[in-house]
Assembly symmetry: C2
Homo-oligomer: 439 residues x 2
């Protein structure tokens, strides 16, 4: 066996991912040493309570509540605590004490990314965060390195497993949101408090990270437009299916021409998370269950898709360990870390400036002249109609349902037009308004 | 504009990929400088004939036939000549003169990879070859870095666009091989001499590269079992569809337990390229046209898939430029390059030692007792039957067609058993024997 140099690895957090990382570090120690060119010695695991019951068997002597002392002696620090504090303080301490850091903390990077990357740049360290963007799916290196010579035009990601699981079951089983959510909670696919998932907060954090990387721009979390899936019901699923679509919660990161505050190149970007319709023949439509996928459109490379498990303790541990090996190789090789490239610094436009196609479902009075009135309002609002279908009669005989597919329209125009439709007198109810993505 | 250090880039070859690389280097010069942290100055393009007609407009003053002089003055050398010589000599010269090298040359890496990687290790340079494995699909960094802390169990790749285009059209249109090939040649999807594609040579080179990376093992090209698609006909496509399968040319790289010469861990690997059946619900089944995809199964990460364009000048140029930016960043950052990790050094077993399921189609005499005889021969040969179906009668009334699906069997056992079936007297013709992959 080769006599390798030793690198001291400190682990912060021993939850679902942390305990798997600890187990794999010991289980594959020899193989990891061969690949990293150094033995990765786990010197300690910082936890809140040393005596808390744990699923995985961790060596008692490695556990400590003193994260700060642990960090001081480490070459590589793995932060898997989650949340903003004390994770932020610990990461900055690790960077300033000369360690390379690995983190899966999307909330922290989406809110304090620039502070952390700047600190790393100052000392020539590197921040590795493959597990923060799309779980086990390798997407950071493809975006940061493989596509560094290309221009990303658009990313569409299914980056939250819980919501994809729920929407997929609603689609395939014709079930209602609340029933599937309850089931998902029972099976462990959704948290007791599902807000972070179903309201799109988790996806928005990942969208901010992906957009920052893809467009070489700092994207603050509050610039990400976010809508959840709680308003999606069976009838919307049925209408989508009927029209050849499926509803997915998408994180869309898009390069636009122009827009307010557009850069010297006349470009801006949009970053948004919402449930959207995509054509059933689109590769993202066949991402089932709790799986994730990131669809990337680049100027030269064309269409790429990265598919895999978006969450799970052992899956995410794979991404973390890949980062640990990279950090170790860098320690051995020397040289300063690759910093985050944010020099493009494109402005992020509000969602109102985005153009997409829409599918609008209206319940209207079943009387002559209604379609002419609706068409007139759309036309006045600069929303051009592509298809109209009167799908089902209302519950009583007085109303009919109109399915309107639009050409590309400005979100702001569309939104104002829908308000006018609602107030027009001929529209009884705006059943749903959904964007169509993937053109 | 930031005042960057300049890095001198030499380009060897100005074909479909090279001319796109040259164009993009100039077109996106400012953006590339921001991302690389250095201005990438194209100092020359080595070609065979300076006056040859070219599709893309290249600056006449950059063209030279003197590759050696060009290499001497370069920080980064991009080799896009293809073929073994003089590409090999030039790459080694570049490495020894202190340059980092980028290549898309799969033939060279599959045959002389160890020599080139060793040379780079000696001087601390790095060899970048994203474009050599699956065209524009980022697969090298995911395998080398992102999954470095995991254990890859299996890779199944559709890594040749021409054969996927042909098989996809045969499947969707019910066309015959020769007709689609002629069409593919007319449309530019296949070369005038299609041997490298349709006989699986191109896929075998990529399989050797992918397996070397995934299993940290030097995989010589002649250890890759290779079969092409020229024997696939409409009736096999129809039978596959009937049984719920689709036929794809797959590059399969698999970790096995045991096998002759198994390593200390009791492991070995198999690397093979052949047309195989995969279930229509498998993600690889929906890879259409000339697209490529690499499906990776890893111990911790689970199933991952990477999808995109496998070829094309501008698409491949994207992968090359990503490598150029990486090489430039390394030049700036300092430190030695990450060498190839081949320490696992697992033995590659012959295809006879592989177990898969099989789908066997036989034309048999339509008389009592035939099935019993066939079943007996299979059982004697340690091939266990999973399904049997008598699908269609032969052209005359005397014969019937048997579709036999087997459980997993050893290739060697299966092959000997098929020979015995052919010689049994009750089998008129062995119509086809296809492996089933993707379990």
């Amino acid at each position: 066996m080769t006599d390798y140099r030793r690198l001291r690895v400190a682990l912060l957090g021993a939850g679902a991912v942390g305990s798997q990382v600890a187990a794999l570090l010991r289980q594959h120690a020899d193989e990891l040493a061969d690949r990293a060119g150094a033995r990765l010695e786990l010197i300690g695991i910082a936890v809140r309570d040393v005596d808390a019951p744990r699923e995985t068997d961790l060596p008692r002597e490695l556990l400590t509540t003193d994260a700060e002392s642990l960090i001081v002696g480490a070459d590589i620090v793995i932060e898997l605590m989650g949340g903003i504090e004390p994770a932020r303080t610990h990461l900055l301490q690790a960077i300033n004490s000369g360690a390379d850091v690995v983190t899966a903390n999307k909330a922290l990077l989406a809110t304090h990314g620039p502070e952390i990357f700047d600190a790393a740049d100052q000392v020539g360290a590197e921040v590795y965060y493959e597990a923060a963007a799309a779980g086990a799916i390798p997407i950071i290196r493809p975006l940061r390195d493989s596509l560094a010579g290309d221009r990303v035009q658009r990313i569409m990601g299914i980056v939250n497993g819980t919501t994809n699981y729920i929407l997929d079951r609603m689609d395939t089983e014709g079930a209602e949101f609340a029933d599937v959510l309850a089931d998902a909670q029972r099976l462990g696919y959704a948290e007791a408090d599902p807000t972070a998932d179903v309201e799109g907060y988790d996806a928005a954090q990942k969208a901010a990270i992906l957009a920052s990387l893809a467009f070489h721009t700092t994207v603050p979390l509050d610039a990400v437009h976010r809508e959840g899936i709680t308003s999606i019901d069976k009838s919307m699923m049925d209408a989508a299916r009927h029209a050849g679509y499926v509803i997915k919660l998408l994180a869309v990161c898009e390069r636009l021409s122009g827009g307010p505050g557009a850069s010297g190149t006349g470009e801006s970007i949009s970053v948004r998370v919402y449930p959207a319709l995509i054509d059933r023949t689109h590769p993202l439509a066949s991402v089932h269950g709790a799986n994730n996928a990131v669809f990337v459109q680049a100027e030269a490379a064309g269409n790429l898709m990265f598919y895999g498990a978006g969450a799970g303790g052992v899956q995410t541990a794979s991404a973390v360990l890949g980062d640990v090996v990279s950090a170790a190789r860098r320690h051995i090789a020397g040289g300063v870390g690759v910093g985050e490239s944010t020099l493009a610094n494109l402005p992020v436009v509000p969602v109102g400036r985005v153009t997409t196609r829409y599918q609008i479902t209206l319940e209207v009075a079943d009387q002559p002249g209604v379609l002419a009135t609706v068409a007139g309002i759309l036309s006045d609002g600069r929303v051009s109609i592509a298809t109209v279908e009167q799908t089902v009669a209302g519950e009583d005989a007085r109303t009919a349902r109109l399915e309107i597919g639009t050409h590309k329209a400005l979100e702001q125009d569309l939104s104002e037009t829908v308000d006018r439709l609602a107030a027009s007198g001929v529209v009884e109810r705006v059943v749903s308004v959904l964007r169509v993505e993937g053109d």
